[in-house]
Homo-oligomer: 164 residues x 2
DNA sequence: GTTCAAGAGTTGAAAGTTCAACTAACCAGG
DNA sequence: CCTGGTTAGTTGAACTTTCAACTCTTGAAC
């Protein structure tokens, strides 16, 4: 990385980038705050519950959680430990692979998720989705998909982030 | 907050929202990582330097930093302390108000910012701006501006986040 | 000119995240 | 089968962020 001359952003790009930065921070902080005050869990914990809920057996290997959330395994270990202590998740030995650990959503976790999902969607609507028209959102979706694709490609442990 | 029936997102909205979530995380993590490995500062620290650099006297009151970054005062105190220890910022008593503290960018801070700005812009281009066309970006800018406006309005200490 | 609520900033502990080191289990190749 | 290279997950320390309590100053009301 760090090529020769700096190609600065033009004023429009600068504005859009700043708008993105400020808007993102505000949005995420708000959703996180609402989730915490209304249900006592963070957005990260909420998202773990969502991922578990999408599985027929409400179960996911630790590594799968880590990967799908782009979190370190260590972080997942700590977070799941807290959620386990709170009774939202239970740990089980994964069968087949004795190294593995399954995180299983408990009934209490499911209950909490029902309520939390409502809050979350209401927040996403109120602070994001219902704020602009469909086309602008589609555009935003395209951009963010492009971002993900690009970053996931050159992912493999973040080597080769040099001048292509 | 938390009205009666949940109005779920339709599939398109769901997709766009997820794309936003994943893309944002990836993008911010990447920019932060690049900033840390190449210049030893976090994005938050970088942004403080940027804000200071925009002032003719390279100076900002602690509270102004906090407000413009949407950080708590406590957080700014800690961050500025670290940056002061690193020699990037110097603290001075603000004149006029004996309670006040000015954060002043040092020569070392300025030096670092020059290099860091290059990295940052290159990253923003490579992972974001150069990835989609102008119209899509304009749309994204509009959406994120709407988000900011809405959230800043009902800001005053986050009361009245009830049914409008 | 007191009094006292509000504002600016700091402090230290608690909570959460990252980082490096570690254990245990798996899985090739010889 | 055994030897090393991965992979899964945990641990604990270092670091960052949050939270509540605290000090000092300001400014308005009386």
């Amino acid at each position: 990385m760090t090529g020769s001359e700096t190609r600065w952003l033009d004023p429009d790009q600068q504005n859009d980038w700043r708008a993105y930065l400020v808007g993102s921070t505000l949005l995420m902080d708000t959703l996180d705050r609402e989730m915490r005050t209304e249900h006592g869990i963070s957005m990260a914990e909420y998202e773990i519950l969502v991922r578990l809920s999408e599985r027929p057996d409400k179960t996911l290997r630790m590594a799968q959680i880590a990967e799908s959330m782009q979190h370190s395994r260590s972080r997942v270990t700590h977070t799941v430990s807290r959620m386990e202590k709170a009774g939202l998740i239970r740990r089980e030995a994964a069968e087949g692979d004795k190294r593995g650990v399954d995180a299983v959503m408990t009934a209490a976790g499911w209950e909490l998720l029902q309520a939390a999902a409502h809050t979350h969607v209401a927040g996403v609507r109120a602070h994001f989705v219902d704020l602009a028209d469909k086309d602008d959102f589609a555009a935003l979706g395209r951009v963010m998909n492009a971002v993900s694709d690009q970053l996931l490609e050159e992912n493999p442990k973040f080597e080769d982030i040099r001048e292509h």
